[in-house]
Symmetry: C2
Subunit: 199 residues, 2 copies
């Protein structure tokens, strides 16, 4: 049972990397089997269908992400710090030559089973809610300025822009491109008093 958990996790780890680099339609059970030195049949014991595996991947990815957002909440107070930490989560993924798992499968959305589609939306919704709350708090504290816009819209822009920045930056193998985009995004949320350049 303990071993079963461990094996399932090793499968998820390998599959996750494949999805984040090649897409859900860009790898096969054979690819995972080859990497883990097990047979395809063995994988089917843990995840009966590829759709089951895909769903498990997204659920786990979201749960880990939620935990990281909690850590940010525990360890930081100012909205500007929280946002910087949030951006750093994306950056770490890109630095590992990966795309966000959910951004990747969002591209393949139309080809995926409904169970996967629902989990993908849940990932974005969870991010949206957290960011909206952080941004609204930052505005109240005077650390952020929405200039008339809604916190929800700012949150949605941030998610989409970070996903898109990763998407394009990956084709240039350039984390710098991501960094430049993230810097501008955060600066655009800074209050007007006196804008400072992020290092």
């Amino acid at each position: 049972m303990l071993d079963a958990m461990a094996t399932a996790d090793r499968i998820l780890d390998a599959a996750e990397r494949f999805v984040q680099t090649r897409g859900f339609n860009g790898f096969s059970y054979a690819d995972i089997a080859s990497e883990l030195d097990v047979t395809k049949a063995s994988l089917h014991y843990h995840f009966a269908t590829k759709g089951d595996l895909g769903r498990a991947l997204i659920v786990r990815y979201r749960e880990v992400f939620v935990r990281l957002l909690s850590e940010i909440d525990d360890e930081t107070k100012r909205a500007t710090e929280k946002l910087a930490r949030y951006v750093a989560l994306y950056r770490a993924v890109l630095s590992d030559d990966r795309m966000c798992l959910c951004g990747m499968v969002a591209a393949e959305y139309a080809t995926l089973p409904k169970a996967m589609q629902e989990e993908i939306r849940r990932f974005f919704s969870v991010n949206e809610e957290w960011l909206t709350s952080v941004i609204a708090g930052g505005v109240r504290a005077g650390d952020l300025d929405l200039r008339g816009g809604a916190a929800l819209d700012a949150a949605r822009l941030l998610i989409g822009a970070l996903e898109g920045a990763m998407l394009v930056a990956r084709t240039y193998k350039s984390v710098d491109r991501f960094d430049a985009a993230a810097r501008r995004l955060l600066e655009d949320l800074a209050p007007a008093k006196r804008r400072r350049r992020a290092s």
Copy 2:
């Protein structure tokens, strides 16, 4: 010869829609053959390999895009108008339930032949150059304000953010989400004097 051209274009049209909705790894020659009521062998006469087809798709998409950018240059003068028209190009694609072709294949980048990868980057580079020029012009004319940032960085953010906004909006079947993101992006480029809300 004229018929050959027409057939090749019909193939490209069908394939383009498949790539923009399902991804390059999400459709097959059989899908196109079925839609056009021809055989797979016939498709291979026009595009020997799927990689050839993919490359032709990206090249055509970019050429059409460049032509549209020229039209914008011909028909508008102010940078704000040009940017609004630019955003409208993306919006039209999303309204047709499609993802940007190059944003889609950017996700699958690692699985694609080099010839396709090069053309994808060229698409982004062309967009970057045009946008950088438009933004720099807008700043000189006082229609835009970069608040200390570089026009190139603003251009890159805009491309990535629009691609990402499409990517996420598609999973919610919501053009509104794209519109809200685009509005914020354009507002963030507006001069500080007095910010007005885009309708």
